[in-house]
Symmetry: C2
Subunit: 297 residues, 2 copies
């Protein structure tokens, strides 16, 4: 791997990745906090998001709101056809790992996607109006919840979905307590300030595999080690009802869950209306809209 590089701003795609060339760590061209809009976050929280790439807002949703969402999770699979691609099933076990586009299928999650505790935070950080780029529930079951490899969401959203710049964030609502032992999300503090050009080339219809186990867009060990050297590896912990906000380019992953405590989260991804999708930068057809909203209404 080459040492840290500055992006040549004259290049056509500053965030090119999986183009068959070697792995590179390059600087981020975009701000993390866009402008200085008013919103629910204190100046200290904004500053922390800017430098760390994430923060946890504890108990943003009440116990009764969490209970309502947990009940909805049980109902959720019934809202989809049996063969629906939105429902990602673990090969072999038949266990549901993720369900996508919940803000379009569930009235409750549609309401959550418009909740001002989330939306106004996204607006404040992204400095513009926002829309839902992707929504999903991730189920990490007790005892045998599977790991998620290290990745930057933006890398995939850019390469496979055509998201031009880093102007999106995720809000992950913790529906169960996230503790050190139930496979919580791990993030590399400060990693969002760098972009890792990943090796390989995106295969066609990569998403059919990547939703179960991502193989392309996974940074090599050397790049991860460099990011951790420059930052810090931390677990995002909090009681249920807390919300983890994290930048689209924050490097994250999670280990398996061997504990008897399930870990279920709802993700709402907010993108700036100034950053709507173009053609995918990998040159392949775009992924289905349940993964990347193109109709922003």
């Amino acid at each position: 791997m080459k040492a840290f590089d500055r992006i040549d701003r004259r290049t056509e795609d500053p965030y090119s990745s999986r183009t068959g060339s070697e792995t590179r760590l390059v600087e981020r061209l975009d701000p993390v906090v866009w402008g200085s809009a008013e919103g629910p976050l204190s100046p200290e929280e904004v500053q922390r998001f800017d430098s760390d790439g994430f923060f946890v807002k504890e108990r943003l949703f009440s116990e009764s709101e969490v209970a309502e969402m947990m009940t909805e999770l049980e109902r959720l699979p019934n809202l989809y056809d049996e063969s629906a691609q939105e429902v990602v099933i673990e090969p072999g076990t038949g266990i549901i790992r993720s369900i996508f586009r919940v803000h379009r299928t569930s009235a409750l999650f549609e309401k959550i996607s418009k909740d001002l505790r989330l939306v106004d935070t996204a607006r404040q950080v992204l400095g513009s109006d926002v829309y839902i780029h992707q929504s999903r529930v991730n189920f990490k079951g007790a005892f045998d919840g599977r790991a998620f490899r290290w990745h930057s969401d933006f890398e995939t959203w850019h390469v496979e979905d055509g998201m031009p710049r880093m102007r999106a964030l995720s809000a992950s609502i913790l529906l169960t307590d996230n503790t050190p032992v139930n496979g919580p999300l791990m993030l590399i503090r400060g990693s969002h300030w760098h972009y890792v050009r990943c090796p390989g080339r995106t295969p066609n219809e990569h998403y059919k595999e990547s939703l179960r186990d991502q193989r392309y867009g996974v940074p090599p060990k050397e790049a991860l080690a460099q990011l951790v050297d420059r930052g810090e590896l931390v677990q995002a912990l909090g009681p249920k009802g807390s919300v983890l906000f994290f930048d689209c380019n924050a490097m994250h992953g999670s280990t398996g869950n061997m504990s008897p405590f399930a870990r279920h989260n709802v993700f709402m991804v907010f993108n700036s209306t100034q950053n709507t999708l173009q053609s995918p930068f990998c040159g392949l057809p775009p992924r289905p809209s349940f993964l990347a909203e193109r109709d922003i209404g």
Copy 2:
């Protein structure tokens, strides 16, 4: 699974397991702390070991001692034949996962196995003279260190090795910092007071498979959930040089390691000289002596 049962003391084998009957949680018949011998542990530490089933003695070995052991780890594979069963290799990757019987192959680890900081602690807890039942190094590499399933060591040592009673303990010397993010050992506090009769029947030469991925002697989820209900799931953490002492029947396991920080430990298992091995309780031939010492010298 049946509810908690008292062992019928008239039964031939109070710790029978994998006999084809259903999973049961039964009481431990043996003390945890045998007698009240003097030793390196304070009365509070002894009490904690008794109630929790483990404790971490921070920085029991100095930085230079750890450095010496880390250097020895690199040399260690050369001390074995290429086909030696003592060296457990991960299928596919060729990565070394464990090396057994290090107290017989390495002069340094022989010295460690006799170190009074370990031996006197074992004598104090077990209330008798002790010997090394098993020694090994576990390598958990950075980025893709593999998980170890939940298990009680004693269950295997009893069923497959013929260890009659619970009168053994492990000392795990942490050769790298063990933090929440590098796949540290997790233990269920208080679990050592119960014994889980596991389902299934031990296949012949089970160890050839189980050293890579244990399938028999793994308690079902319901039993684990009950143990966690009665106790608490905790990570054993500490800086390098610390030693985790844990009872032979403490339920433990560990998740994979996705961090850039390797986690290597040396295990010395001390058994009481009053508790030497009999024929395996599963009725199969004993496992090789690199897994279970029969010649106590």
